[in-house]
Symmetry: C2
Subunit: 142 residues, 2 copies
Amino acid sequence: MSATNTGVPSPLDTALPTPVPSGEHEQCPVTDVLRRIGDKWTVLVVVLLGQRPYRFNELHRGIEGISQRMLTRTLRGLEADGLVRREVFATVPPSVEYSLTPMGATLLEPLSALADWAIENQPAIAASRRATSARTNNLSAG
Amino acid sequence: MSATNTGVPSPLDTALPTPVPSGEHEQCPVTDVLRRIGDKWTVLVVVLLGQRPYRFNELHRGIEGISQRMLTRTLRGLEADGLVRREVFATVPPSVEYSLTPMGATLLEPLSALADWAIENQPAIAASRRATSARTNNLSAG
DNA sequence: CTGAATCCCTAACGATACTG
DNA sequence: CAGTATCGTTAGGGATTCAG
């Protein structure tokens, strides 16, 4: 199972030559993507759009806690990256439909792998965090 | 290839029942993990430690641009999550060795899938971004 | 060598109000 | 309905300094 250096061909090696890229402003694509999808809402939006196209307020209602501002920014970012398509229908109450592009849809697969890992390991992680904070409290208390 | 709703069993569906979890403070494990590994340095550290154990300053030199502060915080976070193990050797110049735990090593696999995707799609994403900013400039200029 | 502590800046985020 | 504009708060992150 160990993916350290035997099992996995590791495309990460390709992305991280030797000392780590990050020359100055040019980050490696992996980091770039991680920072994009690591924000607070992008994954939720992508996952919802993976089910079917959504309209703006539909997403707004579907993602509890998101503000219009952040929903707009998230969608704009995904659109700029070519992961989401935005279709405007000039109807009388104007409506806008968002959907994944083909490239956006392919993101669901690696995302699923990571989600799988997250779900599987979340209990262990949570337990580890609790143990750590308990240990920290002990140090404070004596 | 479409992973929209036919090909992939989508563990995301498990994580996102219908309207999206996020009751109030309790986020879904996927979002939680994404925010953890989506920060600026975690992935780089995990990838390096995936090759072999590293000492503190070795990591510091290996990851160009990281500050001691952030390296420490990143390692502490990973340690608290049970993904990284910290071993202190009480030698005369004290040395500390960091390595992936077994659970940490399993993270390399889904990370590779995502890295694969990132590397493969990075050109398209970059092109899309350029096209978008060019379009924005056109609106401003004309 | 391996950090912890402090200060400061910026980007991200959220709430609210306003517009086509 | 689908946004934009503005403002205030907070969290992430960097530089520097100090300590075991």
